[in-house]
Amino acid sequence: MTVASDKPKVGLFVTCLVDLFRPVVGFAAVKLIEEAGCAVDVPMAQTCCGQPAYNSGDRHDARMIAENTIRAFENFDYVVAPSGSCAGMLKKHYPALFKGDARWEERAKAFSAKVHELVSFLADVRGMDRVTAAGGGSVTYHDSCSGLRELGIKTQPRALLASIPGIELREMRDPDVCCGFGGTFCVKYPDVSNSIVETKTQAIADSGADLLLAGDLGCLMNMAGKLKRQGSPVEARHVAEVLAGLTDGAPIGGRD
């Protein structure tokens, strides 16, 4: 039974990709949010943020999914997602789905105001300036597009990483340029996507870092998948794994 407390209650929107492919990111998020002095719960009624429908022009399904998400999360103090892309969808795009439906639009706005991307929540909302994790080695950080441009996440992950003794950040060329994932884009236009990710993996390789970090699992699966296909020794993890010190398991795409 959950003990009642005066800690802020955070609903973890785990994101479909983390839920299905990389649960460790979810546990890392829980650990970090708890370290930031909050109580975490995971509503079981969540599925996906709805971006695949929304970005494919299917507003109806996107709205239905959004309603489901809002219902599941609107009673929390905060809604936190370990993804700039999904958090951006929840925070910046949900209200637009309800244009013309005043009651739902208000509800969506109230919900969106509580939504934060994980690292931004830790640093900007909870004022966290260091983490307790230990670690080491050279890392390079890719700024995922939605987190960077919709939510202004750039310095926060770097600052928290810098608080880990032994971690050396080696910036790649153009860390703010898209990796070519783009959700359904990467399967609709695989050749173009491939050209973009090849440019990205070259920049990653040139950075000389051993570990690639980012805040979005979609981008990470794309980049890690390409690195693996190229036979690169660079490993990839979600930044939350490193910040939480949960790096015992295999990196994304397995260990060679």
Binding site: M1, V14, F27, S56, R149, G254
Partner: protein, 478 residues
């Protein structure tokens, strides 16, 4: 020009395989981005100017009819003539009529995307009138029988050795042993060849970056000076401009000029900003005897009042394509019509129809870099999404996509069913991929695994594991 946007995927494939093109595209990345950033960083008011520029255009669009009328009145008062054209064909026939009635045989042209949009060169050629492009980049691609691959750097897809080969092929009156190994010598040659053309031409045609309602002026913004020679040497100057080029006043133009060149080439100002008002005045020793403006609608009025109205703020600086990872990969021709890159992905479906231009707004990762650099703050990704909505509403996207999306949405809307399905599928996939931690190929994932490995899921979903953990906790405290 022929529209090849429907075969965007094949176009892109060819572009990716084109070694010369891929080499040239490296120049886009290197040439524009750093220069823009430097110019922007040097002007603390840049972002405030973007807001100002956006507001000016918004105001103008909301009063477009009134500003067009005011503009027309000033042009007429200064001795110029305004022609209204609803369609590309109307604009072309106005030009042809001017050529025929004035006995024009050759026209020189300043760089103008609107004349590309109305395919003026092919039309003039077919009508027995010789159009001569005078911008170096436009001249190069005219020699090559191509179209611009970039709205401000039309020949950005061409490498220097290709230019040399083209000049040798066409400029046969020059010594064969001449040295053309430097860009300077190539430019010199073009300068000399074209200098004669300005004097021969009967009509000079330019586009316009702005039309100023306050004064009836048309403004062109260039670096080479060809646009100016095009409009001051021939007897007749014809401006072709679409209706959204209007700005209210000279001061409004001054605001937008501050963001235009910085966004385009990283200059504070382009070399030549030229305001032209009417024909030569009494006592003027130079300048054209006639001044005509063709105001072209060609689909713009149909964008007003719709979710695409904001696109009419576009000032054609090219910053969106300069910063677009998709454009960097495939260049401009793959987009299959006049306007490439993010601005083309929004504008093209509006002008040629989403049935033909539908790939363009889909071929975007929504990375948002275009919007972040757009001097007019046009929400390009949002409008690409609107096109996807139009396609979806009309059932224009491929059946496989609709099916896939439909099945996924069916589950995503039903949390319990979704949980059940994923709790069955994920452990199976996890077990299959356990050894390597990834898949090199997988049924239904060919789009992904063609170029990259698919990381395998862990053994169970996060929610399965979380539920178990919570249950254990409760068991422990009970």
């Amino acid at each position: 020009m022929q529209i090849t946007s429907p075969s965007f995927k094949q176009n892109a494939r060819h572009a990716l395989d084109d070694v010369q093109l891929q080499k040239a595209l490296g120049n886009v990345r290197a040439g524009f981005i750093d220069k823009r950033q430097k110019a922007v960083d040097a002007l603390p008011e840049f972002d405030a100017l973007r807001d100002s520029a956006r507001d000016i255009k918004n105001h103008t669009l909301e009063n477009l009819d009134l500003y067009l009328e005011a503009y027309e009145q000033k042009v007429t008062a200064s001795g110029g003539q305004v022609h209204w054209a609803e369609t590309a064909a109307d604009a072309r026939s106005i030009v042809l009529d001017l050529c025929r009635t004035r006995g024009a045989r050759t026209v020189t042209k300043g760089k103008s995307m609107i004349t590309e949009e109305i395919a003026l060169n092919d039309f003039l050629d077919a009508s027995g009138i010789v159009p001569v492009e005078t911008d170096l980049g436009e001249y190069i691609i005219q020699l090559r029988g191509e179209h611009p691959s970039h709205i401000i750097a039309p020949a950005v897809h061409v490498n220097q050795d290709q230019v040399e080969a083209d000049f040798r092929r066409v400029h046969t009156h020059l010594p064969v042993d001449r040295d053309l190994t430097e860009p300077e010598t190539l430019l010199d040659e073009a300068r000399k060849v074209l200098r004669a053309k300005y004097f021969e031409a009967d009509i000079g045609i330019t586009g316009a970056n702005f039309l100023v309602a306050e004064t009836g002026s048309s403004i062109i913004v260039t670096n080479e000076g060809n646009g100016d020679l095009t409009q001051i040497l021939p007897r007749i100057h014809v401006v072709i401009a679409s209706i959204e080029k209007i700005v209210p006043t000279l001061n409004d133009a001054a605001q937008i000029l501050r963001v235009l060149a910085r966004s385009a080439t990283g200059q504070d100002m382009s070399v030549y900003t030229t305001l032209s008002t009417g024909p030569r005045r009494p006592g003027d020793p130079d300048g054209p005897d006639e001044y005509h403006v063709i105001l072209l609608d060609n689909g713009r009025s149909a964008m007003l009042g719709t979710e695409f109205q904001e696109m009419l703020r576009c000032i054609r600086c090219g910053a969106c394509m300069n910063h677009c990872p998709v454009y960097h990969s495939i260049g401009g021709h793959a987009y299959g019509w006049v306007y490439p890159g993010p601005m083309g992905a929004v504008l093209t479906p509006a002008l040629i129809g989403v049935e033909k231009g539908g790939h363009l707004p889909n071929a975007s990762t929504f990375c948002g870099r275009c919007e972040s650099v757009c001097p007019m703050k046009i929400p390009l990704p949002k409008m690409m999404r609107h096109w996807r909505e139009k396609e979806f509403e009309r059932g224009l996207n491929p059946a496989t996509q609709r099916w896939g999306l439909g099945i996924w949405a069916f589950f995503a809307r039903r949390p319990q069913l979704y949980a059940l399905a994923t709790s069955i599928v994920i452990p199976v996939l996890g077990a299959l991929g356990k050894e390597k931690g990834r898949f090199s190929s997988l049924p239904f994932a060919g789009g992904w695994t063609k170029h990259r490995e698919l990381p395998a899921p862990e053994t169970r979903t996060f929610r399965q594991q979380w539920a178990q953990r919570e249950a254990l906790k409760q068991g422990g405290t009970a």
